[in-house]
């Protein structure tokens, strides 16, 4: 997009194009998350209602109460900005923004369809997990800065919980990385294209188990029931949220729903093929056809959102069904069950891959894993191809201008030069060169 905008501006001003592209993407992402939170809160109310044998909101916005969250948002916005006298003003005000920023920043690297990503990082997964972990800072600051003992308890619990659950979560995430050989989320998902049996969930039995560990740890790291100890209503009033009201409170809430979506979106990409549907419908789309590719990507976006939202729905289902665990049980569950199981699955998956044991992935492979290139490798590939094309044409022109040997030598030396630069990347030799 940035390249396209850059063509609008004169030479030397092309940074304006980059700025424009960044602004558009940031605004788009913000809206995806903000609207997502609104939808999720409405959905949670409806789901909770149905689980509890009641209706949930029915009136606001005509049918199904679909505007209820917006109405509540307006109410929250118009509330008085309260701060307890004993609170630390700076930390109290800073905390919601830190949580929200951490939750939103992670979306930068989360792809929504093949190539549809804010910033395509080759360490996207690492980035997402790291930034998601920052969210806890906001909670700790809120707990510390509120000047309330209940908030302090909430903050302490959150710190203990998130820090311990980052460990199994990290181990779970490493396995898909090992199998696909990259941390680039786009590549990880692209590698799972084809029949649904190509999804990493079906890579080996350990991956199947690992997904559940990942999901459990994911629920714990985004602080949802049965691990919602930091805001345990019946114990700590509302934990770190006790003293918050109005827009600050809703910022925390949006951060929570953002992280929920992020964690289940990550699960969809890592284990369930991301935007690849269960049956490959768009494999015939020729490369370079913009309209058809966009169409395929739109369907992929639908796939991805469906999978991610399904994960969120499961989280809500769990929340409204199970009682809450106790803090020592949460920590011991992490250390006694999640970490060992995750580590065991890690070993199992590595052995499975190393021994080339067959499983569901081999039923109908569309593409070999190694053939799907990472983003930066693709860029070099493209550059390389262009370079070779140019060289070929130059050589051809030279050949046709002067019949003889020296030019032939010049061409081969040029080719060798180029080959040295990308010696590690196996590139199919363009045929025009011969």
């Amino acid at each position: 997009m940035a390249d396209y905008f850059s063509t609008w501006f004169p030479e030397g001003w092309d940074w304006l194009g980059w700025l424009l592209a960044a602004i558009i993407q940031a605004v788009l992402l913000l809206h995806v998350i903000a609207v997502g939170a609104v939808v999720f809160i409405w959905m949670e109310r409806k789901i909770a209602g149905r689980i509890q044998d009641r209706l949930g909101p029915t009136r606001t916005g005509g049918k199904f109460g679909w505007l209820q969250t917006l109405a509540d948002g307006i109410k929250l916005l118009s509330k008085e900005d309260l701060m307890p006298r004993d609170a630390d003003p700076l930390l109290f005000k800073l905390a919601p923004y830190i949580s929200l920023a951490a939750s939103f920043t992670a979306f930068l690297a989360l792809p929504f369809a093949s190539g549809w990503v804010g910033v395509r990082l080759n360490i996207a997964l690492f980035f997402v997990i790291a930034v998601l972990g920052l969210e806890v800072f906001g909670v700790i600051l809120a707990g510390y800065g509120s000047g309330s003992k209940w908030s302090l308890f909430g903050g302490m619990r959150q710190a203990a919980q998130v820090v311990s659950y980052e460990v199994p979560l990290g181990i779970c995430v490493v396995v898909p990385v090992l199998i696909s050989g990259t941390m680039d989320l786009v590549t990880i998902a692209d590698q799972q294209s084809g029949l649904f049996s190509n999804w990493l969930f079906f890579h080996d039995p350990f991956c199947m188990l690992l997904f559940w560990v990942y999901f459990t740890c994911g629920i714990a790291s985004v602080n949802r029931a049965p691990f919602d100890l930091a805001e345990a209503e019946s114990e700590l009033v509302s934990g770190f949220l006790t003293e918050y009201s109005g827009i600050r409170w809703s910022l925390f809430f949006m951060a929570e729903y953002g992280s929920m979506f992020l964690v289940s979106g990550l699960a969809a990409i890592l284990f369930f093929g991301g935007w690849n549907g269960p049956i490959p419908i768009f494999f015939w789309v020729p490369e370079g056809n913009f309209t058809l590719e966009t169409l395929a990507n739109l369907v992929g976006l639908g796939n991805f959102l469906l999978k991610a939202v399904l994960g969120v729905v499961v989280m809500m289902w769990v929340r409204w069904t199970l009682p809450r665990l106790r803090i020592d049980q949460v920590i011991s569950m992490c250390l006694k069950y999640c970490v060992p199981i995750a580590a065991f699955c890690f070993l199992g998956s590595v052995l499975w891959t190393a021994l080339h044991l067959p499983f569901l992935n081999d039923v109908m492979p569309m593409q070999a894993r190694g053939d799907v290139r990472e983003g930066w490798v693709q860029d070099i590939d493209n550059e390389m191809q262009q370079l070779e094309k140019r060289l070929a044409t130059e050589a051809y022109e030279l050949n046709s201008a002067v019949e003889g040997g020296p030019q032939q030598e010049a061409q081969t030396s040029l080719e060798e030069d180029a080959a040295d630069r990308v010696a590690l990347i196996p590139t199919p030799q363009p045929e025009g060169a011969r």
Binding site: D53, R54, F153, D228, S234, P323, I327, D328, Q329
Partner: protein, 401 residues
């Protein structure tokens, strides 16, 4: 008294400052207006002191200026979740003083109404206990069924919460026509639903983790503190006033077949139909107190079915209430009944000068049940405090009166 193994969590070498935390009276899980002052070291509670009196309404003093029938509405507001049982207790105490003999039909009517209200009360106890442990849905499931009970009681007496239905002499009105069929219909629908509650709470692995071996109270301790009702029976003491109480009260239940819900030889009377006792649970812990309550609901259903049969065959009238200005003979009467929360006693003293008693007093069951809280909450985690208080199932209206 052996403490639960949770006390092993305390890390002695990491000594931090103690913190006094005020839990209540506006805390979501203190069941009304109980205030607990917790002395905590991190997450570990070293001391919990209950403070009561936030709902004191001088009900007993008011009773010294009203005739017994006029005081009935005040008894409703003591244990507001089981108003009928409160009415019954006071009515029986007054009847004992004036030596009134109840017609047979009124006897069965009282059993039906009291047991129906017991189910409603235990449903709230169960639902709020789920809330205390962070499980929201059982609460609404419980209220869904309770709503139907309240509808039935509304049909019978016109009120949904403060009934003033059972009065000295009998009841204010007979059951309306067709009411017993409705009740039977409700029981048929309700009985299978209990399995849902067991699936959501009693049998739930997390629920068992949160309640088993927490707040363990030995039988001796329960007796020492004067605990009663499910709290006492949850500790394995075989005592139920419906069987062991005064003749005037047990005669209501004469002819009814029921077993006292208490653990004998490691199993409950109804263990075979419902989830067995988990291996983690220790007699006298929160899980047992909860389970006794759940089984009492089934016991009440049985009693109701028997009551329906007996009531429709009984002769005589439903028991006309005594006259408002009935002269009270000189003397005193004290009678305890088995309320959903335990032994509720009413005491009436008259100097024989008129229809207004000299003294009207109530003996609260929750007050005694709550008095064990400091003992049970010692060296537990903060999260266990709501679990323990919830398992005692207190109603502040009854404690403060």
């Amino acid at each position: 008294m052996e403490m639960a193994p949770t006390s092993g969590i305390v890390e002695i070498d990491v000594r931090t400052d103690e913190m006094l935390v005020n839990m209540g009276p506006q805390h979501p899980s203190t069941h009304g207006v109980l205030r607990l002052v917790l002395r905590t070291d991190g997450e570990v509670v070293s001391e919990a002191t209950p403070h009561i009196g936030y709902l004191h309404r001088c009900a007993e003093k008011i009773g010294e200026n009203l005739t017994p029938r006029q005081w009935i509405p005040y008894t409703d507001r003591m244990d507001y979740l089981a108003g009928m049982n409160m009415n019954l207790g006071w009515a029986l105490a007054v009847e004992k003083l004036i030596d009134y003999d109840l017609p047979e039909k009124a006897r069965h009517l009282r059993v039906i109404i009291a047991e129906l209200n017991r189910i409603a009360s235990h449903l709230v106890g169960m639902g709020t206990y789920g809330l205390d442990l962070g499980s929201f849905s059982p609460f609404l499931y419980a209220f869904r069924e309770r709503e139907r009970i309240l509808d039935l009681l509304e049909d019978a007496c016109g009120a949904r919460l403060t009934y003033s239905y059972l009065t000295p002499g009998g009841a204010t009105a007979d059951l309306p026509p067709g009411w017993l069929q409705k009740l039977t219909g409700f029981l048929d629908q309700f009985e299978p639903v209990i399995l849902d509650y067991h699936a959501l709470l009693t049998n739930n692995a997390i629920f068992i983790k949160r309640t088993a071996n927490i707040g363990v109270m030995s039988a001796e301790m329960a007796i020492d503190y004067g605990c009663s009702g499910p709290v006492l029976r949850g500790s394995g003491v075989d005592y139920d006033l419906r069987r062991d109480g005064e003749e005037r009260y047990t005669s209501l239940y004469a002819g009814y077949a029921f077993e006292v819900i208490v653990e004998k030889n490691g199993s409950y009377p109804r263990d075979h139909e419902y989830p067995p006792v988990p291996s983690d649970a220790v007699l006298g812990d929160c899980w047992h107190r909860f389970y006794v309550r759940m089984l009492e609901v089934i016991q009440a259903i049985d009693l109701l079915r028997q009551g329906i049969e007996k009531y429709s065959q009984a002769t005589g009238d439903w028991g006309t209430p005594i006259k408002l200005a009935t002269k009270l003979p000189k003397g005193e009467a004290y009678l305890e009944t088995e309320c959903p929360r335990g032994q509720m006693g009413f005491y009436i003293v008259s100097d024989g000068s008129g229809s207004i008693p000299l003294r009207a007093r109530a003996r609260s069951s929750c007050f005694c049940n709550l008095s064990v809280a400091p003992e049970l909450c010692r060296d537990c985690l903060i999260a266990d405090v709501p679990a323990i208080i919830g398992s005692l199932d207190i109603v502040m209206g009854e404690i403060d009166r």
